[in-house]
Subunit: 345 residues, 2 copies
């Protein structure tokens, strides 16, 4: 459906205005804008057309207009002006990221908090899904007379304290045996048969208690096979309280409960199949509760399937332009870091 240049401008003006004020916008407000010199009457006619076309909605007869979901969609697709992030802001961002090149999950969390700081909306981030995790090393450390810590190194490190007394020598023996037999193990390799074979070999070699062996190996296998649900973080959730859309505490409360629930989040993020940066506006969301929210999502990845997503969630009248720009930049930065971090990994 084609719109005349004038209609486009008017629609854009209405949405821009509404994004700023959250109040229905009237014809007078638009006609007072410098960029198009038309009387309010003309604007009214055009707005009536735009309403017929489904881009605007009138909450009631004597009110101004509010964008419909289709209106927002059109805006995002064709009208929105590119938001230019300030040079300092970008520098700032890069500096911030550089300071923190430590743990992966930290980077991601941090990225989330930056995203919400930039946009002032709530942010959902998923940590990169672990690809195939491969066992790099197992270590056993005596903790006390009765306890031993098992440290398993894959892409990350996992440790657990098990209730069993092992001497330093025993730890040494067991860990070197495990490392010998299991190094390079991936989740694909873990089958019950194979594993009990390996367990036998190790037992043979170490002469250790069966129970001890079982428990240590179980932890090792669990760590490798754990197709850990990609972790999900939410930050700046409380920002929704700032927006008049959520003046109603009930509503805000429901939203909180929904977004506090990791299952919901996961479903939300998973159901999103788009690539690159894209928005889901209002009714485009499946969840009833999100019908008057928009979700802007970008995925960061290395092209190797390893990656995650960052979503910004806010009222439908969010500042799409700014959100798109922020997410774009952030995901770029993350990509850079991750590529650096996992090269040849």
């Amino acid at each position: 459906m084609d719109l005349s240049e004038r209609k486009r401008k008017i629609l854009q003006a209405v949405i821009d205005e509404y994004i700023g004020t959250a109040e229905p916008v009237g014809s007078r407000a638009i006609s007072k804008r410098e960029n198009l010199n038309l009387s309010s009457a003309t604007i009214r006619n055009e707005m009536a057309d735009l309403e017929d076309m489904g881009y605007l909605i009138q909450p009631h007869t004597s009110a101004g207009r509010v964008p419909s979901d289709e209106g927002y969609r059109f805006y995002v697709n064709s009208l929105m002006e590119k938001y230019q992030m300030g040079m300092e802001a970008i520098m700032e961002l890069q500096k911030a990221f550089q300071m923190r090149i430590t743990r992966l999950d930290q980077i991601i969390k941090y990225a989330g908090s930056i995203a919400s700081a930039l946009t002032d909306y709530a942010t959902i981030i998923t940590a990169p899904q672990r690809g195939l995790s491969m066992l790099r090393k197992v270590d056993l450390v005596p903790i006390s007379n009765e306890k031993t810590m098992v440290v398993v190194v894959t892409d990350g490190v996992k440790s657990q304290v098990l209730d069993m007394p092992l001497s330093e020598e025993e730890c040494e023996i067991l860990s070197s045996a495990i490392n010998k037999y299991l190094k390079g193990l991936t989740s694909k390799d873990v089958t019950t048969d194979k594993m009990s074979g390996i367990k036998e070999q190790i037992r043979e070699k170490t002469k250790l208690d069966d129970d001890v062996l079982t428990r240590v190996l179980r932890f090792v296998f669990e760590t490798i096979t754990a197709d850990e649900d990609a972790e999900i973080y939410v930050s700046n959730l409380q920002s929704i309280l700032k927006y008049p859309e959520y003046r109603d505490v009930q509503k805000a409360g429901k939203m909180f409960s929904f977004l506090e629930n990791k299952d919901n989040l996961r479903r939300l993020v998973m159901s999103d199949s788009g690539e690159g940066i894209h928005a889901r506006i209002g009714s485009e969301n499946d969840d009833e509760i999100l019908k008057d929210c928009s979700l802007v999502t970008v995925d960061y990845s290395l092209g190797t399937g390893r990656g995650g997503k960052i979503s910004v969630i806010g009222p439908k009248r969010m500042n799409y332009s700014k959100v798109f720009a922020s997410l774009d930049t952030i995901s770029g930065e993350i990509d850079k870091i991750l590529r650096y971090y996992t090269d040849n990994g």
Copy 2:
């Protein structure tokens, strides 16, 4: 100041009622309770007295009464009936804790979520301050051509990926050298002189690049000396939206911002010097924003200075009795686990 038995009963009834309804309670409501057979007129007289004494407040002339901070204080100190946790609830709790004896910070986080589930208020928990952490083991794992992971085991495990190429053999040599010289090291031992001495020794022995050595050792020392700020978690923050006290979104928003800020939390928890379980009611809190909240805090510890705190934060009319009982039980369970966990540690 002594209160007659009857006044005590009436005060208790008023507070119990108010805790349930959040509405000013009138004389009729009290007189209808079975446990004291008095007409509303008599109750009125007594309530007037209690108001004179400062335990009750009348929001306006023709309203019922609301407890004052002093009223709550008296209630908590002398009136409150002991809440008996159900046997099943306790069993449930114990089972829950037993399932999760893994990482310390996990236990604590978990305890926090249990506390908020039981009480339905927001919960603040501080992880135990690390005592003197002692180096147990250092491990080096080659990650790629250019990267090596350093794993440092103390009470917990910390790892970092450093940008340096080390072969497997080099890793082996370096880590065994470090383990030989540094095992058992505590933060007390870390002085510049001593450390550069040790570094020399290790270098002598391993013939490794000075830069590599410096970076690995720096991470090790940092890990040991890090007097990590006791970590602070908040859970169930959104529960405050449920209470009519926070029907006003503005207020709720302020509260959120306040409690999202870790500095505030830290200050809040630190300023609390009490031992055992205790409450801070309304104006007993220093922060203006908490003037109509109460904070119930319990510390869990091992008597060795190692320990943390759990606080429940809610409206002044919180169910003190239940909160006290829940926190008491939870802190007991944590104590048990921690004692078990760190015995001879």
